[in-house]
């Protein structure tokens, strides 16, 4: 009886710490809403449809930031996803066992480098390279909208490239885990039917498709919220442009840049509203990706249980 009460005390006291964790997440949502109320009530949905960002005149339209965030993240994803999946497949399926750990370590090192270091490298190394690339571009290509504009170096392409490099380790490490959870029998069955290596791996990829999509979305979530590296190379100019070379802006970057300069309350609230929406978007993307990964993360539950035949038992 006394023990039971002590155990209950233990449960409650550790649970309280867990409650702190839960309340932090709740508090972020509440606090950001509260602190952006002026802007939410004044502009409503027009905030997200208009393009004028003029703090002096008190006009705030966040469309260029949403555009910049989505555009940069999507380009980054287009570049990063094939590479990340290639890495995951190489490490999980193709490479000799003794190279596996070192390769995992090296790719994860990419995730460990602080984003400020990426930004610094971006400013002084990548941006000049992008500028050279743009100058070297043949004239007929330059009339295309996506390649138009003067060569600044800073702009959408630089940001997307940096983001792509930063996203690769996240997507590839999750995709690797997902591939690991595919039963060996799947591949063996494919090989037994005479499949080539590519075809066998394609079978495994198909089997793990929800998890792979989850891994890609996780990378997307990372790209959306990345701040420092992007703000240092994207040019910080709020405009909606298709051009890869145009200086643009993102949601995270505008907060980082202008937050300490926000002189009046409405300005500050407008910036915090951008933060609130960034919070909600990443929340949705991450929850979706976890949902997808969750279904595959537990092989025992994802696959309907059957009594193993002798063949399966030995394969396992």
């Amino acid at each position: 009886m006394q023990w039971a009460r002590k155990d209950l005390g233990f449960r409650i006291s550790t649970g309280l710490f867990g409650l702190v964790l839960i309340s932090i997440v709740a508090a972020i949502g509440v606090e950001l809403t509260r602190q952006s109320w002026l802007s939410i009530s004044k502009f409503g949905f027009a905030f997200w449809r208009t393009q004028t960002w003029d703090p002096v005149a008190g006009e705030f339209g966040a469309l260029p930031f949403i555009w910049g965030t989505l555009y940069s993240s999507i380009i980054a994803l287009l570049i990063a996803t094939p590479v990340a999946l290639g890495i995951a497949i190489f490490i999980a399926e193709l490479c000799p066992a003794r190279f596996r750990q070192p390769l995992v370590f090296l790719t994860e090192l990419l995730a460990a480098i602080p984003s400020i270091v990426y930004g610094l490298w971006g400013i002084f190394v990548l941006v000049p390279l992008v500028r050279q690339f743009q100058v070297a571009l043949p004239d007929p290509l330059r009339v295309l909208p996506i390649f138009s504009g003067p060569p600044f170096g800073v702009g959408m392409l630089s940001a997307a490239l940096i983001l792509a490099i930063m996203v690769v380790p996240f997507t590839s490490s999750v995709a690797r885990e997902v591939l690991k959870s595919v039963p060996r029998t799947q591949r063996e069955a494919a090989y037994a039917l005479g499949a080539t290596r590519f075809e066998a791996i394609r079978t495994a990829l198909y089997y793990a498709r929800t998890g792979i999509i989850g891994a890609i979305m996780l990378g997307f979530g990372r790209a959306l919220g990345e701040t420092m590296a992007v703000t240092m190379v994207i040019g910080n100019n709020p405009q909606v442009s298709l051009s890869l070379f145009a200086p643009q802006h993102t949601m995270a970057a505008v907060i980082a840049n202008e937050f300490t300069e926000a002189a009046d309350d409405l300005y500050l609230h407008a910036l915090i509203e951008i933060g609130l929406v960034l919070f909600i978007i990443t929340l949705i993307i991450n929850s979706l990706s976890r949902l997808l990964l969750w279904t595959i993360g537990r092989p025992g539950k994802a696959i309907p249980k059957r009594t193993p035949t002798p063949v399966q038992a030995t394969a396992a």
Partner: protein, 281 residues
């Protein structure tokens, strides 16, 4: 003929995967190369022991920023370690419960929240009410980022501890708390410490949550209620400045940051390898 085409496709695919690995390692090598080459030029004893000099004067260091980063990370850990470990204990001890799922969901969510948003949040709760940027606010922001990492690592490692150890303790008449604190946690301790070190490495490199919580400070401070400098914010300030000498300092700061992170990752890797060895033996 058809078979041959399939074989070629397969070969190309293997080549593509190998090329992807190279493609990712090129930027890594490229970044490390530049950070070392540029950073080493400005890195000397002065960098570690002296204060930033005004524009125009060559030299100076980041002593205040280095101390600031240590203080901020320390404050973050002070806040995050108890919450993280205890939440982890709850998640593993009461794994099936609804509360445990809720904590797990909150931890994963928090882990995905962009660091700049955490900065904005902490600004609202710890800067605005006191009308003062402070080291405490910065530490709080870093702590919030550490909690989910520590909580999830603790949970995973506690679940790895053999059930028989816990049962042995309970069979001897220990309470649940006693079994956890005297038997299960110590068994998982090396792994948990590794997790904490990794979390530290990650948050020591964070800039965004510090921009408007701990802000920056040109002077040497240890006061917790004042704005405080940090390596990352200082590197940012220098990097976007127009002065060449400041750029050199920024690279040196980056080199220190990268070395710190590298060292922590290597340490953690070494420790986990040892752990795995123990588990096998």
């Amino acid at each position: 003929m058809h078979t041959r085409r399939r074989a070629i496709v397969s070969q190309l695919f293997v080549v593509f995967c190998a090329a992807s690995v190279l493609l990712a390692l090129v930027p890594l090598a490229f970044i490390l190369f530049f950070v070392v080459r540029e950073g080493i030029q400005a890195l000397n004893l002065e960098f570690f022991v002296s204060m930033p000099k005004p524009v125009g004067e060559v030299g100076g260091g980041m002593a205040n920023s280095i101390v600031g980063t240590l203080i901020l990370s320390g404050l973050g850990s002070l806040f995050a370690i108890p919450v993280g470990i205890m939440s982890g204990v709850y998640m593993s001890e009461y794994a099936g419960s609804r509360m445990a799922s809720a904590i797990r969901f909150a931890a994963d969510t928090l882990n995905g929240v962009p660091s700049i948003v955490i900065g904005v949040f902490v600004y609202g709760i710890a800067v605005l009410p006191f009308k003062q940027f402070s080291a405490i606010a910065g530490g709080l922001a870093l702590g919030i980022m550490m909690i989910p990492i520590i909580a999830r690592t603790t949970e995973e490692l506690l679940l790895l501890v053999p059930h028989t150890m816990r049962e042995g303790a309970l069979a001897l008449g220990a309470t649940r708390a006693r079994a956890v604190f005297s038997v299960v946690l110590p068994a998982a301790a090396p792994g948990i410490i590794t997790g904490v070190v990794l979390a530290l490495a990650r948050i020591a490199g964070e800039t965004a949550p510090l921009l408007f919580t701990s802000f920056n400070n040109r002077y040497f401070t240890v006061g917790l209620t004042q704005p405080i400098s940090s390596l990352t914010v200082q590197v940012f300030t220098y990097a976007i400045s127009p002065y060449q000498d400041w750029h050199r300092q920024a690279w040196a700061g980056a080199l220190v940051l990268v070395s710190l992170v590298l060292l922590c990752s290597l340490l953690a890797r070494f420790a986990t390898r040892k752990l795995e060895g123990l588990g096998r033996g």
